[in-house]
Symmetry: D2
Subunit: 280 residues, 4 copies
């Protein structure tokens, strides 16, 4: 009377720091890795038969061991290695997904010079996702998350429909603050992960800074267009952006005029806007 349908399992939050000391200039990769497996796991659920159930503890060990055994210069490379490993090693696995969130460490500046082995946390995190399917090949994603930005002008919101529950005033000059999450798909076979990440991040920040925004949606589409223009390895990009409202403070009760100067930051509720832009 009951049947198992969709299922998957894995290990989350495998945290890893890899230091590359081959030169005086140390490199650091700090990553939070998740491994998720799909496959022939029905009996694990329905009968408690664990003979196909690769322990999640083994997944964790594998992450640390493969980080040691292989050189990589981009988290996408490590994600691919991991996804391929689990499909290659275990016949019961039909697909493996490795998701990596990488801390972006910037070099500390000492008297105007980038330090060799000391770092301060940078803005935003980098994402890399590889999904290897036994039939169907590999899909690789890159991305950025928690990139918090704000602009104090050149953002408006007008022309929207009104009904009896609408109290929002139109504005041609508001503050626009958000935390950018973007996830893109690499064309099959792409290997230029670091230049793509750099180009996409730069395009996203420059559009955010310079675009005269008529709405978060329009900014998202423009970001997507510019990323596709700047990064030929990307076939598609999806954005998720909250609208972190800063509401004009009501100073009228105090006989003060608020010339777009004083705002109340609110963390809830927030707008939530999503859009995917495809190379056409």
């Amino acid at each position: 009377m009951a049947k198992l349908t969709a299922n998957s399992y894995g290990k989350s939050a495998v945290r890893l720091t890899k230091v590359v000391r081959s030169a005086a200039l140390h490199q650091i990769f700090e990553m939070d890795v998740e491994i998720i497996l799909e496959g022939a796991f029905e009996a694990v659920y329905t009968a408690g038969d664990n003979s196909a159930c690769v322990p999640t503890d083994t997944m964790k060990n594998t992450v640390y061991a493969l980080a040691k055994k292989h050189d990589f210069d981009a988290p996408e490379r490590f994600a691919i290695l991991l996804a391929e490993h689990f499909v290659g090693r275990f016949p019961q696995v039909s697909a493996a997904t490795a998701t990596i969130e990488q801390i972006t460490w910037d070099r500390i500046q000492v008297v105007g010079k980038s330090h060799e082995h000391s770092f301060v946390k940078g803005a935003g995190k980098r994402l890399a996702i590889a999904r290897e399917a036994r039939t169907g090949g590999t899909i690789v994603h890159g991305g950025i998350r928690d990139l918090e930005v704000v602009k104090t002008t050149k953002s408006g919101f007008t022309g929207f429909p009104r009904d009896e529950y609408t109290t929002l005033k139109e504005t041609t000059d508001r503050i626009f603050g958000t935390s950018i999450e973007a996830v893109w798909t690499y064309r099959p076979g792409a290997l230029e992960f670091n230049p793509t990440y750099d180009a996409a991040r730069t395009a996203i920040l420059e559009v955010f800074a310079t675009h005269d925004s008529l709405g978060v949606q329009q900014t998202i589409f423009e970001m997507g267009q510019q990323v596709l223009k700047a990064a030929g390895a990307i076939t598609e990009i999806s954005f998720t952006m909250p609208n972190q409202h800063r509401i004009l403070a009501n100073l009228e009760p105090f006989n003060l005029t608020n010339n777009n100067e004083i705002f109340v930051n609110t963390s809830e509720p927030f707008g939530l806007i999503r859009g995917t832009i495809l190379r056409d």
Copy 2:
């Protein structure tokens, strides 16, 4: 050269408390509501034309206004009201999804008696989701989230495959701790939301307590089976459960024997197990 594909937008974290004072025994609904719309919003993204763009601020106002205008005794009812409202009101909306997370307030016991208007936060949150599509009707989900539980015995993990990265020992007696998330689908037309929630919650907790677990996966399947048996309005249920490991502390360096008494709680990494069980 660039084309908008998937897109949606809405308002998240609309927080609301509704107090029903019709009797001496007050009722309280504390909810965190999200409204997401899909529809003909292309020009909002591609041209900054907001003429179709229902403001998320209007969504927020609508949540508060409809909470006032309508009586409801279950969050599912309110979610349905909200989803239907946006599809009914705005022709450009092809589908609306209302997601509600409800705080479960328990009555404070005063000298053994449930108090009329004072509450203490209960275990777990209740979920209700309604998606109304212009073509295709309404799908309603219920659920529970953040239900944190632990059992100190009757949980094991043996018989799993080993490779060179496997160091985990087999165990027939470990601690099993998790935070249960379950989301179920109601059969079309179901209205018995509160009895279903109660039956599902009870079944989940009783299986967790009494099941002799051979693995998290097996417990998930057994929970699903028992929920389907106890709650006839549910057609399908999906679980997401982390394995919040408590690792046997290594006391050998101190010449102490650890008879399954002292454990190190770890928050990372954690196993992550998912399964969907369908009424067959």
Copy 3:
């Protein structure tokens, strides 16, 4: 030209589960322990001379080892054991403070009966703090934290002073929601930790439920009085309570009357009220 003054160090977030299996009814202690040492550590700071510096890793190991070696039925007992250990063992330590936050696990009810070894997370966390000074003896504190409560009536706020920045309306019927933190001091030599905790928790919840509150401050003082009355081992109790505002939703723009029914929950800003009540 620079001199070290106040200093201390230790280990935070030592997470531990102890299971007592001596009877069919298992007991579980899940604790988050912090050890802080003060003493003759100047050279550690000023010269990098670590000869006096007990490693924080040793503190962690000691927590697990002493949890194994000693029976205890209350977190206060374990805190005292730990604080005494570090002062007794290391002559350079002038004072040691052990702070324990304990998860309150409630037994899962199965067909109306408390289960022997399965638990669901309860409301609020229990605190226990012991500070052992080489000269000056031991001070022991108990407490409760994160006890989230709400009452839907019998709370007002009137008669407050007004100036030109005051817009708040007087109200005799508002919602009062808070997260209670209370820390008390045991009289020297007290050993009745569990009955005291139970009596204090009950008094706090019952006052919250039944008190006709003229303000958070008044409720705090009444809670303190009732705790001192109910628990003879407590000499002093301090409360920290946020006022988690639920603001009456403004439904006038929608021609709806809000009879104290619909409220907007806000997480910021929040009132923050503190008071200490001493047995006189």
Copy 4:
């Protein structure tokens, strides 16, 4: 039989953005403000007599109104304004403390040039605290918080005492990661807040980067010394620094040698080190 002793109250998490648009180059101050009052509030607690109880809602309004009425170029100036206001306005207030946490927004770089009105979140938050006492004057503090840093070498920990609970190995080359919190006191009358903040932040980061650390304690003392040398307006500085351990991964079971390359990041437990350095 019960007496009120220590007490205070106020408003926390008053979030504010102030935009200064006087030039093409916009300035943004995003602050989280807390106001705490001490004074003659006994009757508020003991009798529910609110005639002395300045509403926390009024505090919130005052923060927004004073932000509009006054120009300031440093959060310390605004904190002083606020603390003085409440002591000056309300005779029942014996002391007022304003605590400000400021987001550090960096200008987005567009084609190598700092943008005029667009920002990305910077590393660490800035702190400013002013306490105005009716008798005793003003004390002003500055600081920095959540400044997350890591160095991959030039950090060791040796020469520490051992007992039977010590398993830690000595190391002359470990990773040192922390989240720096520093709070300093300005000499009475100091006004050079921004240069002091810049000098202190630079000194802290440069010491972290370049110091050959024998322990977190030694690094703290060296930071303190260098801050006092670089910033003449500071009389005293206190640090709170967690030791965010990265543990060498044990790869021996996999026949791999870990040459200080692969580390397991742990969020718990963590060392916690505090020290205050006074200008002598």
